[in-house]
């Protein structure tokens, strides 16, 4: 364990330096991992509760935050990577803030959001007790090549879980993974109640999904299902103890299905200790993670910051926010963390923006975004590729009214840094989408 102590010491030093310089969260983790490649196993393997990994294409950050809130509300001590830094080194960086040199985390559970590819790297270092698999959709195909490949990554992760796996019954890419879990590992389900099944297309892009191997809806006793009461209120049914009615602090159907997934997982983790009343209160009070529908107060008027990174996510975001049109900016970068190929913008329909138009497109590919909107008949008032200039102009021209920015990951990071400096927002880490 001398090596771990050395690694943690070096990592903490790197973290101190990096914070002073206002840098990101990956470097300290990188330093620690170099010195002790087995650091994750050494520190997480003997947690009294276990390790829950949350992965899938869309909703990882939001769902992880909800699950952590659920477990903490039940009195559990939880270590998590709260900054959306979902590569293994990001997890280690998060750990450095909380770990004494002895290498013992003061926690019952680790709840970790992991990128689909990094989830496997992580599992190779330390096997998760539980895995929550949210969904599979087109995302960063310049990294994952094919949807089938992403689905296979998740199946291999599920096979590593030692205690329980939680699957999306409505996503055939995910539901068919039930046949891949190890002997003796419990499968729990989450999904949309059959009475609300007409809302499913809003959550899934119209890609080609094969029905082979998809599960039939399991006995509802082991499924947490989303039952909508209206646009803002829902109940999570199942296990003979409904959670709700709940109204979240985040809008939209996607957030509700994330809450359903988090509830299913909390039930799987806590077993008989799960209390529906406690869960409902926790879900109703959890705030959205930064940039995921986060609302920033700009001189008394709300600016909504909405992360978009793939067709399904952008489609859901437009459906969620399109009903209340406000002055809108769209910022598209094509750095590695955004996905270098912007072809995916053509798998999204922007027709819902026709009425109000778009005030500004920005980012490295701001002109490509304007071009995309032209093909959907959406008026674009300005295009300014420079994000800082664009933000300045956008807030100036729309001062005194509500505003909204849809942005890719690195564009969000830059915009949020500017906004944080100007409006005293909380710090946040940076790593990957």
């Amino acid at each position: 364990m001398i090596r771990s102590t050395l690694a943690i010491t070096a990592g903490k030093l790197a973290r101190g330096v990096s914070r002073l310089r206002g840098g990101g969260s990956a470097l300290p983790g990188l330093v620690t991992e170099r010195i002790d490649p087995g650091i994750l196993g050494h520190t997480l393997a003997d947690l009294p509760g276990g390790i829950v990994v949350v992965t899938g294409t869309n909703g990882k950050t939001t769902t992880t935050k909800m699950l952590v809130a659920l477990l903490r509300a039940h009195g559990q001590r939880v270590f998590t990577n709260p900054t959306g830094s979902n590569f293994t080194r990001g997890v280690i960086s998060a750990m450095l803030a909380e770990i004494p040199l002895s290498g013992r985390l003061d926690a019952d559970w680790a709840v970790l959001e992991l990128d689909e590819a990094h989830a496997l790297h992580f599992a190779a270092a330390v096997a998760p007790t539980h895995a929550l698999l949210l969904n599979v959709a087109r995302d960063q195909l310049d990294r994952f090549a094919e949807i089938d490949q992403t689905a296979e990554l998740l199946a291999r992760l599920a096979a590593q879980a030692t205690t329980g796996v939680v699957l999306n019954v409505d996503d055939s890419f995910v539901s068919r993974i039930h046949s891949r879990v190890a002997e003796g590992v419990t499968v729990a389900w989450f999904g949309v109640d059959p009475t609300c099944a007409d809302r499913l297309p809003e959550l899934q892009e119209a890609d080609v999904r094969e029905a082979d191997g998809a599960a039939a809806l399991p006995d509802s006793a082991e499924a947490a299902l989303l039952l909508l009461q209206d646009e803002h209120t829902f109940t999570v049914t199942g296990s003979g103890a409904d959670v709700g009615p709940v109204t979240l602090r985040q809008r939209g159907l996607a957030a509700m299905i994330n809450a359903t997934a988090a509830t299913a997982t909390a039930r799987a983790v806590l077993g008989d200790d799960f209390e529906p009343g406690v869960a409902a209160t926790a879900l109703a009070t959890v705030t959205p993670p930064f940039g995921r529908g986060e609302v920033i107060d700009i001189d008394g008027h709300p600016l909504e910051l909405v992360l978009v990174k793939n067709p399904a996510g952008f489609t859901v975001a437009l459906g969620t926010y399109g009903t209340e049109p406000v002055a809108t900016m769209i910022a598209i970068n094509d750095n590695y963390a955004d996905g270098r190929d912007v072809s995916w913008l053509y798998d999204v329909s922007f027709e819902s923006l026709q009425g109000h138009g778009v005030a500004l497109t920005s980012g490295v590919r701001g002109w490509d975004m304007a071009l995309r909107l032209r093909y959907d008949g959406v008026e674009v008032a300005h295009t300014e590729p420079d994000l800082d200039l664009a933000l300045e102009q956008f807030l100036r021209e729309h001062a005194g009214e509500p505003t909204r920015i849809f942005c890719t990951y690195t564009a969000m990071m830059q915009l949020r840094r500017r906004l944080a400096a100007r409006y005293n927002l909380a710090r946040f880490g940076e790593d990957s989408p």
């Binding site: 089938d148 890609d207 080609v208 190929d341 913008l345 798998d347 093909y375 008949g377």
Partner: protein
Amino acid sequence: MSDPSQAGAVTASKGTIHLVHLYPREMSIYGDLGNTRALASRLRWHGYTPVVHDHHPGAPWPHEAHLLVGGGGQDSGQLRVQDDLATHADRLRALAADGLPMLMICGMYQLLGRAFITAEGHRLPGLGILDVTTTGNATRMIGPVVLQTPVGEIVGYENHSGSTVLGEGQEPFGQVRHGQGNNGSDGTEGARTGNVIGSYLHGPILPANPALADHLLEIAVVRATGAWDPEDVDDTIAHQAHDRQVRSLLSA
């Protein structure tokens, strides 16, 4: 498919043009649907009436076709369209020989070639419309691309594991100025025979390269109506997007 854009629309139609999109479900995971959108919109802007036929496996062949487009899919998608492609192989070869314009991207480009040889060495015959042979590779060729072609500079994005070699005398679609192209070694990208263009470029390729879109439309419209009578379309935004990519990639 409805396209609500009425920018530059002309009220009286100069003619009806039938676009056929091959396998939009199985072979369009990389945004290649954007090519169909772009062609339909531009036809409208030029004063013509587009009719888009989505051709799915097993469906009857559309009664009219002036231009064919196809895109990139997953390996599993290619398997699902193979039977239907075999059913229409003779028809497609005849249409190509007759000069019907076709734009086939990525997976569909490979299927129009002579053969695809899998990483395990299995030889899957293609339509043989383009004299190219593709071999499955462990490493993918991924990244932004700039080409020099007879229709000007083309920008796009490649993402393919197949490595393609042109047969002797087979014309490429363009020469690589940035990126990997057919195989990463001979500087060629895509293939062109008559009015059939095969290319690996997503982006999708047509919106940011309006000259290529109009080049294909001109051939299709002349076939359908006897003459190409375009309107003056404002492509400022497309040129901005195009030129910025060219500048940033060629200066890198």
